[in-house]
């Protein structure tokens, strides 16, 4: 028991760099996946909450006649939806000094539908008191206590005192509200005047009985809305009424459709991140197991069972993914909050309350931990079940195999000796080459996609939310890319310990030794970075198509140049950081024994 504890401890100590790298990769990956994945559920919850809290109306019926709805028409509407489910208002606009003011007249004290949120002050108590919509970039606003003159639709003016500043739940988008008396202008002030019963009723707001139907623009809700619209138009006539729904409410609906776009982007990227993470963690573990062949053989000859030996390595990856996954929780929460915050720049949304959605977090955490542990155990068992004699021999490529390039003498004979050996090392181990290049391609494709989304999103005025998500994708895929390349370089150095020592004994200088090892990393990174471009093109095309936003043509041409440069720069950084690891290798210790 004690011996196995010590040997497990040694394993962790020996491969501490790899342990930390896996932890870091898992933090970045799960942090990204849960952080981005939870944005859509969080926004949908917010929209639902908004809808319920303010009892937002489902339909907005607007009379097309200047005299408003007739008594008969009102009675019809009341029959259709129930009198308790509607509010009758008189809404008009006046133009003064070129500025449009919109005035709503209805019973403000009842406040049953489209409840105004009182940000300051109180409700009016008489006809000379009014409420004013809060000041934004577009609305002028006013102060509590201000006396303003409110124009009558027929011409007269009355002085009113502002008793409160409010926020209309239907005006949650911070964008222009076009005037309906002058299509070229935007409304610059909104005033609410309390009237028990407006003389003219030209706007009627309707709520559906079933408040759960909405569910952030569900399909069933859309059906119900269409049905209700049809009913209204049939009963009242197309010439008399226009029926608008929340689907035409720019604020709420655009927020919802951005949330849906983010949701789609998240799913694509979550799947991609998940696959790359699994590949990277698994290839790290399988290469670690290969390096430990001698140790495994040793323990086998001592009589340890394959499962006991493999258990130690499985525990290693379990600890790494568990540690990374736990630390990723905070990263994910912070990320969701940040993206949510960025959306708030364009929407008046309630403050972010720590989301109680853990679906993505638990799912990605679970998958990564389970899959890497199982894969490590399976690979470990495959190795441990081999005969110790086989394990003691170094793992070499299939004997006599030549790399493809050697079959093209014109090319091969022109290469200097050093490059020949480099190319052979790069291409001879197919699975190692494949896993390395694919993980580099994967992370550079992600980075390219983030950059592409960013390029397109900055072109749109309203795409703040997509800019935010693109920036997050850029930061996280760059971090992933840097970690993946560092990890690969680190493994390469560690696997080549003995060869490095041999080169040192032969009198190779530090620069020559590091060059020998790093040349391979550079070649693989270069291949990955280049292949990342066409594959990134296909991936981006798919993403743009799916989210119905942006296009390859809208991207900057230099994004395609910058992307491989970033990959190569990360490779350069990794080699810079790992140079000392090579230089510090002890020639004697590495050469004097088999292990």
């Amino acid at each position: 028991m004690k011996a196995s504890f010590i040997s497990t401890l040694r394993l962790f100590k020996k491969h501490i760099a790899r342990l930390i790298t896996i932890i870091a990769i898992v933090i970045v990956s799960i942090g990204f996946m849960s952080g981005v994945g939870e944005v859509q559920p969080t926004i949908k919850k917010t929209i639902n909450k908004h809808y319920k809290t303010y009892n937002v109306s489902d339909l907005y019926l607007k009379s097309k006649k200047p005299t408003g709805f007739s008594t008969e028409e009102i009675a019809n509407i009341e029959t259709m939806f129930g009198s308790e489910n509607i509010i009758k208002t008189f809404c008009y606009e006046v133009e003064d000094d070129g500025k449009i003011t919109r005035i709503y007249n209805y019973n403000l004290t009842a406040q049953k539908i489209n409840k105004l949120e009182i940000l300051e002050g109180r409700l009016p108590e008489n006809a000379n008191e009014v409420l004013v919509e809060r000041a934004t970039d577009l609305y002028e606003g006013a102060k509590v206590g201000d006396v303003i003159s409110v124009k009558n639709p027929v011409g007269g003016t009355i002085s009113c005192t502002v008793t409160g500043i409010v926020q209309n739940p239907l005006l949650m988008h911070r964008a222009e509200e076009t005037s309906f008396i002058n299509q070229d202008k935007n409304v610059s002030q909104v005033i609410y005047v309390s009237t028990d019963l407006p003389l003219i009723v030209n706007d009627v707001y309707v709520v559906f009985e079933n408040r759960t139907l909405f569910d952030s623009f569900s399909d069933r809700y859309e059906e119900r809305v269409e049905q209700a619209k049809q009913l209204v138009v049939t009963k009242l006539g197309d010439d008399n009424v226009s029926a608008l729904s929340l689907f035409e409410n720019f604020g709420l609906y655009s927020l919802n459709s951005y949330a849906e776009k983010i949701g789609m982007i998240s799913i694509i990227f979550v799947v991609f991140f998940l696959l790359i993470t699994l590949l990277v963690v698994y290839s790290t573990m399988s290469r670690l197991l290969d390096e430990e062949r001698n140790q495994i053989a040793c323990q086998k000859t001592l009589g340890y069972s394959s499962s006991k030996i493999t258990g130690k390595y499985t525990f290693f990856v379990f600890v790494a993914t568990l540690g990374g996954g736990l630390l990723a929780f905070g990263v994910g929460q912070l990320l969701t909050k940040m993206i949510y915050g960025a959306m708030c720049a364009h929407y008046d949304m309630p403050d972010y309350a720590s989301s109680l959605n853990f679906g993505y977090y638990l799912f990605t955490f679970g998958i990564i931990m389970l899959a890497t542990c199982l894969l490590t155990f399976a690979t470990g068992m495959k190795i441990a079940d081999k005969k110790p004699v086989t394990l003691l021999l170094p793992k070499t490529a299939k004997v006599g195999k030549k790399v493809l390039m050697e079959r093209i003498p014109v090319l091969w004979n022109r290469l200097s000796f050093r490059y020949k050996s480099t190319f052979r090392n790069v291409f001879l181990f197919k699975s190692r080459f494949f896993m390395t290049v694919v993980s580099i391609i994967g992370s550079s494709v992600l980075l390219l996609a983030g950059m592409g989304l960013f390029d397109c999103a900055v072109g749109y005025k309203d795409a703040v939310s997509i800019v935010a998500i693109a920036m997050v994708i850029i930061v996280f895929s760059a971090a992933l890319s840097a970690l993946v390349i560092y990890n690969i370089t680190n493994i390469n150095v560690s696997e080549r310990n003995r060869e490095i020592a041999t080169l040192m004994v032969l009198g190779y200088h530090e620069k020559e030794v590091t060059g020998y090892i790093f040349r391979e990393v550079y070649i693989m990174a270069f291949i990955g970075a280049l292949l990342g471009l066409p594959l990134g093109y296909v991936f981006l095309d798919f993403v743009f198509e799916l989210i119905n936003f942006g296009s390859i043509a809208q991207m900057n041409w230099w994004t395609w140049v910058l992307n491989p440069i970033i990959t190569m720069f990360f490779t350069f950084l990794a080699t810079l950081l790992l140079k000392n690891k090579i230089v510090k290798i002890d020639m004697n210790a590495s050469l004097k024994s088999i292990e």
């Binding site: 006599g400 000796f417 200088h509």
Partner: protein, 233 residues
Amino acid sequence: MAFLKLENVCKEYKSEAGAFKALTDVNFELENGEFVVILGPSGAGKTTLLNLLGGMDSATSGDIILDGLIISQLHKKELTNYRRTDVGFVFQFYNLMPNMTAKENVELATEICKDALDPASVLTDVGLGERLHNFPAQLSGGEQQRVSIARAIAKNPKILLCDEPTGALDYITGKNILRLLYDTSKKNNKLVIVVTHNQALKDMADRVISIKNGKIEKVYVNKKPIPIEEIEW
């Protein structure tokens, strides 16, 4: 002046457990073209001595002079240059590059030497003319050790250092390898130093250095070395 001269060479290793004297006051002189055997039990300091001679480690005090060059005073970079041009190593476990053919393994060493010999002809000399394009995994242990010897010879170094070169080989193969090393010292006129714990090998050497507890026990010359084929153990 002797080709290789050691004067009061000491090597001390410091660790948490305290200082450990691996070599104390080592003095001897060797001539070019000699086949020298360094004998001693495990832990006597043989490998430490070889590391100092090969420029893989530095002495704590004392002087090591090879052909006029004071190795004990070289800095890290100069030591690398020394290993590059003046030393050929042969290890117990061959230490070949697994992804390179026999010829490429030799080329790896000759590529960086000025007066290197032709890799293919050296490999032919050690009996591997037919195996130039084989990878280590396709060669037997004895053949791999021949590649490693060819790699050391092809550098055309001043000194050939062999650390238990037959330690991983069977009896007959081991003898063949020793024959090859002996011939190298004579045909190429090289100083060949073999470190071993096999007492029987002392009879084939021109000079024998026996070492115990980090100190030289005795150094003597064999007037009539016995060919390896006639030695049994």
